[in-house]
Every structure is written in structure tokens, then in C-alpha cells.
Amino acid sequence: MARKILFEHIDKPGIRGLEGYRAHGGYRSVEKALRTMAPEAVVEEVKKSGLRGRGGAGFPTGMKWSFLAKPEGVPRYLVVNADESEPGTFKDRYLMERIPHLLIEGMVTSSFALGANTAFIYIRGEYFHVARILEQAIGEARAAGWLGRNILGSGFDLDIHVQVGAGAYICGEETALLESLEGKRGNPRLKPPFPAVKGLYQCPTVVNNVETIAAVVPIVNDGGEEYAKVGVGRSTGTKLISAGGNIKRPGVYEIELGLPCDEFINSDEYCGGVDGRAFKAVVPGGSSVPIVPYELFLRTAKGEPRLMSYESLSDGGFVSGTMLGSGGFYAYNDAQCIVRSTWNHARFYHHESCGQCSPCREGTGWLDKVLERLELGEGRAEDIDLLWDIQRKIEGNTICPLGDAAAWPVASAIRHFRDEFEYHVTHREKVKDPRHFAREPFRRTARPQTV
């Protein structure tokens, strides 16, 4: 059994309530930090741990915290990003549903480190049922003195509020999230200024993912150096991976970073192998990361075994690599159609574009339309190059990374599965049946293109 850090006690009875959580060492990090540490020392431990943001971008958390501006007399905020809308990602929900106090504890310790006296959990509106669980946990924590005025007699005050969204993927982007929290449309802001300088209500703000904040608990308990011993290289610690698609054992798994991809996808401890005939492709980190053929998920272009880590998954860059992203993992069996999946991705980004920048607003619409006609058997040979051209014009030309996120799945699908796109032009009658590849799996004409 691999080592569990966040989920060590997740199956213990009563862990969802404060009493059960305390019985397994809950809130020790708060005691340790507030009684024995200076706020700067907590930030120092997080730096030493090498913890990287678990929301998708992988930015070093300690560094982000040290950027927080501290002007006199201006409040600072911690905002937890529980928007979790990246397709394929359901790890934060699992954590919040089963062990909500882990997030609350992490927020108290982190707010102390940052000098924030008010913290928000921005949670997607569809998770109303999870918001209720969090509110209950907050109520218990407040009644027991882990929140409120003068916590543990330290002089530190903290209030936590749960804020629900109302259905918009873009509100996971941190500045759109802040806009939404201020009661506006979720239009991302231009950066700089970064939230660390001007965030919520124009005050210095740290935005972190649920899992990132939860990881602060073991880091403070055991020390940053201990945490950094787990993992591989600059990918320290553990990561929650939510696994879905055509695998035998979907679910949320805590893995040590550096776990071989082969073991993750095929062993019975994790995904348990393919549900169907054979694996075709993998999206390892949420819909925004490049899709790769199964073989390139197992091994890099150089033939080395690939590992579940930030560095190894991106080995080969956009040509043959992908990204760890949010840990929203899904695998495709050979009954699936890559063109149909790419169309579905494009439709998603088109639907979710906030509409502020023309390349994203118009470009995602074009991708959606052209992919639709290819999949429905009305495509033309030049459509494949047209798609390539459109995605190139979106990438790098927008206010927020949603534009890139819309471009990459299309680029990688064409790069690795161009022959499937061509098949859609040459077999227009066949692909009119939506289950075309389920009836007659697509056989590659050549090795996947890796250059």
C-alpha cells in the first residue's frame, strides 16, 4: 500500500465530524502553529516542503505566499478555490465530503501564516450539498474554539465563509473567481496586478486550491522537510488523482508523486486496467491538458517509463508530452472516437468562454463548428488544417489561460490522431453513426506521430 498523507484517516468512522477528526490528530497543526510558531516560520515550512499548487498550474505555494503584500491597515484574505469545474476533476469534492475538517484546519493554519482574519471558500453552485457539509464543519469548529475570536488564546481571529457560485467554469480562474465573489460576472482580470497585491476588494489575497490548503496540515505537523521526502525531484508530496473514463476502477486516489504511469493505470490498487478491449488514449490532468496516445502515456518519446509527476508527464513538451494539471485523469478505450471527443471538448470551451477576448470567444466557436461538421460526416479535407490554424491563433493571444486550454486539446488530438480526422473526411457515411468506432474500432495506419 502506498503512503497516504491527506487520506490516512479517510476511512475511519466519524471522521466527517469534529470529534472523530480530533480523535485522529485533527487540529494539531493549529495548536502547533498558533502556540509555537511565528507566521513567517509557517511560510518557511511550506517553502521547504516544495508544495506546488494542486489546482492545475503547479505554482510553488510557499513562493506565492511570500509575494503577498502587507500594507499597514489593509485586510488580507485567503480564498480557497473549490470551484472544481475542470472536466475530469472530482477530487476536491471527495475531500470536502469525507473529511471537511481537513480543509478547515488547513485554512486556519494558512490564514495564520498569511495574517488573514477573513477567509472564503468559493465553491461551485452545483456543490450546494457539499457547501452544507462545510458549513456544518465550520459551525462545529467555531463552537469548539478553532475559529472565531482569539483562537487558543493566541490573539489570532478568523472567520470562514462559504460562498456558492452559480455555474461557470471560468470562475475557477482565480481573478474571475474574485470578480464572482464580489457579485459580478466571472470575467477574468488583466494581470498584473496579481491577487497577491490587489485581490478581493482590491486587498492583498492568496487564492489556493482545496487540496493545496489541505496539504498545509501535514506540512506543519511533520515539517516541510519530511513532506519533501515524499515524491520525486521537484514534484514533492502526494497528489489526489480523480480517475474516470474507460477504466475498471474509477475513483479518487492519493498517489505519491513519481508513481509509474503504468502502475497507476493498470494495477488493481488504482485504475485496474481497461474497461473494454484496449486503451487508446489518456488525458491525465483535466480536459485542458494535451491528450496523448496510451503508449506515450506509458513511455516518453525516448522510451523511458513515464511517471505521475509534473516533470515526467510534461517530458517531450507539446510534441510528445502532456501535463499533470488538476489530476483529472480519464482514459479512452478503442471504441471511442477522438474526433467526437475533441468536438465535445471544443463545445465545452465555447460554452464556457466568458467572451471578453475575440480570439477565445470567436475561435472556440469556430473550433466547435468545424469539429461538429467533421464528426457528423460533413467535413472537408481542408478542415483539419483549418482547425490547426484556428487553435494557433487562439493560443497565447488571450487575457486568461482558458484560450490556451481550448487550443491544446485540439492541437494534441490532431498531432497524435490525424489519421482519425482524415478517416472522418474519407468515410463520411460511416461516421454519421455516432457509435461508429464502437462498432468498428479504428485501426491506426501508422505509428503515432511523435515529432
Binding site: 476533476t89 480517475a243 473514463g245 474509477p250 483529472g328 480519464y330 460554452h351
Partner: protein, 185 residues
């Protein structure tokens, strides 16, 4: 973008709107959370409450009441209500079935589930059955991808759906005949 940019209607189902006393108390509690001068932050949570109080959708009257409560210009409320997919700007059925159609659910059969629901209910996504019981809505990833295909109805997630399970669900909901809201406890 269609659902979001749909024009706010002024003709459908017009009737007066007023918050109930309990809802109003809840709204005031929400407003008190935010710093002085930042009560606009309560807009989205309050729109959820208003929608639940108005048969599951936001009429112009309901949005205007929210604007008045928060001291906002009406346009500030309309532009937010029309941005977010959980706010319905037209009347809906007793039950809104939010069926996830995003890629991970598609890999597990959401296309077939949606097709089945369309046939069974005799409506397309965005439409409501003639008896006013069900509105079918397709939505994007609801964070339930490992247990797809799935749908949300009110505050509840219905996961690992099959044709048989969804048929049973429809029968149960129809028999219960009681509105489901996102804010249900």
C-alpha cells in the same frame, strides 16, 4: 453561450414577487458577512434564494426585488443572472434535470442517456414537458466524472445512471410531485 445570452423575458409567467420572511432573514444574514460597502458580494447567493422562491426561475420581478434589496441598479442584477448557467431566465418544470454531457461522462455513455431522456420525455434539451413536470437541461462537468453518466436534480446528484435507473427516477419524481431546488437541505 445560448442559455446565458438568452434575452431576459418580460412577458412569460409575469406575477408579483416578494421574499418570504424566512428568505428575507437568510438574505440579511448573508449580507452581514461582507465588509462595509461590499454587500454586492451577496448577489449570487441571494439570486439562488430568489430563484427557489419563484418556482425555480428568475423573473424580471424577482430580479428587481433582489436589486432593491441590495441597493443595486437593475442592470447589475440582470447581467449577473444571465452569465451563470444555474439561473433560469424562463419558467421551468417542477423538476429540472441537469444532465452532464462533458467528455468524461460522454466516455461513459452520456450521449445515450440524453437520447433516452429526450425520447422518454418527448422534449429536447432546454424544453419542458407539456404537463410542466420536467425540464431537460444539458450541463457541463459536475465533478462526478467517475460515476457518470449522471444528472443533478435540485441539490441531489444521481450517479452511475443506466436507462433502468433513470426510468425509475422519473417515475419516483413524478409520483412525489414536489419542486426540487438547488438550495434544498
Amino acid at each position: 453561450m445560448s442559455a446565458r445570452t438568452r434575452p431576459v423575458t418580460t412577458t412569460e409567467g409575469v406575477r408579483p414577487f416578494a421574499f418570504s420572511a424566512t428568505a428575507l432573514a437568510e438574505c440579511r444574514e448573508l449580507i452581514a458577512r461582507y465588509p462595509e460597502g461590499r454587500s454586492k458580494s451577496a448577489l449570487i447567493p441571494i439570486l439562488h434564494i430568489a430563484q427557489a422562491e419563484n418556482d425555480g426561475w428568475l423573473s424580471v420581478n424577482a430580479m428587481d426585488a433582489v436589486a432593491e434589496l441590495l441597493g443595486l441598479r437593475r442592470i447589475e442584477v440582470y447581467e449577473v443572472a444571465s452569465f451563470y448557467s444555474m439561473f433560469n431566465l424562463h419558467p421551468v418544470g417542477t423538476y429540472v434535470l441537469d444532465v452532464c454531457r462533458t467528455t468524461p461522462c460522454m466516455l461513459r455513455g452520456s450521449d445515450e442517456l440524453i437520447a433516452h431522456l429526450e425520447k422518454k420525455l418527448g422534449i429536447h434539451p432546454g424544453e419542458t414537458t407539456k404537463d410542466g413536470m420536467f425540464t431537460l437541461k444539458t450541463v457541463e462537468c459536475l465533478g462526478s466524472c467517475g460515476t457518470g453518466p449522471m444528472l443533478q436534480c435540485g441539490a441531489r446528484y444521481h450517479e452511475d445512471l443506466t436507462v433502468e435507473k433513470v426510468d425509475r427516477l422519473i417515475d419516483e419524481l413524478r409520483a412525489r410531485n414536489q419542486r426540487a431546488n438547488y438550495t434544498d437541505r
